[in-house]
Assembly symmetry: C2
Homo-oligomer: 188 residues x 2
DNA sequence: CTGTATTTTCAATAAATACTGAAAACACAG
DNA sequence: CTGTGTTTTCAGTATTTATTGAAAATACAG
């Protein structure tokens, strides 16, 4: 993994801190630590990594590395890339951040928001004719929540169709006082 | 709490399911079950509730109800309202969903995103002069991530200043094919 | 100050979640 | 088929997080 002529620079300390902290950050968002760390690792790796690479770097068991890699693949944030003449699997992360953002939004919408919306609509229907104060407020809030979340879902759908430059332009037009980041432009 | 002339309608079943499911939903987003359930409860309660009301309705201990109520107050999603001639505290949730959305966005930005941004900027600086492939990609990703997240923060800042109707209009202009929800209009 | 209602704290415990490691299943070369 | 390298599964264990309940602190009325 590490080779050649680089000075034993201390950016490696920054790397380790990034991986560790990204893991903690993840837990605050309902993502398990190891999964977030593997994602961090792959985000900054110039080459695809094997399960054993992950095990060694993060000092976790095979089962743990395996299941979290597979889950990342399930989230479409990581893909398995075959290597010529190698039997084992290698994994690489999607590195373009706009794509990562869209993917996370899409997956969370599908897995979590849409089921919630169904719940809310169902609750709204079931409380249709309520006559008490409590019942009417409940119905009202269910309708309001489902409309709010439904609207959010539709906006997200539209955003999915934007390429990064278009999204940027929209944002700039909407929020002139917020400077935009340079467009992502990764090396091949 | 329950009184008067309502038929023993079954919307109460819908209510119970809403509270329970909102709790599970919360856990997927890194919020503990009880806290999410208390929030759900207050969102649909026409009157402020006491700690004992919460304990009884959700069947949780005093300590649990207490600490989660206080944390909700800390998130500014719930406020304590004094009741004339009553010594104990009553709590009510912010019910306007646009306000709730802005509050959650603001709090998460402050508590989680801003610290992450500082980490990323720090990592970007510390890897400034890296010469290896790995080092340069790391630096590049740190810069990219911090710019992306920084931009998100600035957009969020701007959104904070929008009233709901203005936000709606913006969204409609951006995404003409997504029908908008009726503007929230709660009874006094 | 004394007594009572209420809030707050926190050590102990329970529940949920994540992780390990070894065994089983699988894939393929020879 | 046999042997070897790899992936997958999963029961057991460890870790983390949430919850309880009772004691301590607080607030106030009389």
């Amino acid at each position: 993994m590490s080779n050649e002529h680089s000075p034993p620079a201390d950016w490696t300390a920054a790397r380790d801190e990034f991986v560790a902290q990204w893991g903690s950050l993840g837990t605050q968002w309902g993502i398990n630590r190891t999964m977030a760390q593997i994602h961090a690792l792959l985000l900054i790796s110039p080459t695809p990594l094997s399960t054993d690479d992950v095990m060694e770097t993060l000092q976790v068991s095979r089962g743990n590395a395996h299941s979290n890699l597979k889950e990342l693949v399930g989230w479409e944030l990581v893909r398995s890339v075959p290597r010529k003449g190698e039997r084992r699997e290698f994994f690489e992360a999607e590195k373009d951040l706009w794509t990562v953002f869209l993917t996370v939004a899409r997956q969370r919408a599908r897995r979590e928001i849409e089921p919630a919306l169904r719940l809310l609509e169902n609750c709204a229907t079931r409380s249709e004719g309520a006559s008490s104060d409590e019942g009417r407020l409940f119905h009202q809030q269910m309708v309001q929540l489902s409309e709010f979340i439904g609207f959010g879902l539709r906006v997200s759908d539209c955003v999915q169709r934007l390429r990064y430059p278009a999204a940027l332009q929209f944002a700039m037009r909407l929020f002139p006082n917020s400077a935009a980041p340079k467009p992502p432009q990764l090396s091949p």
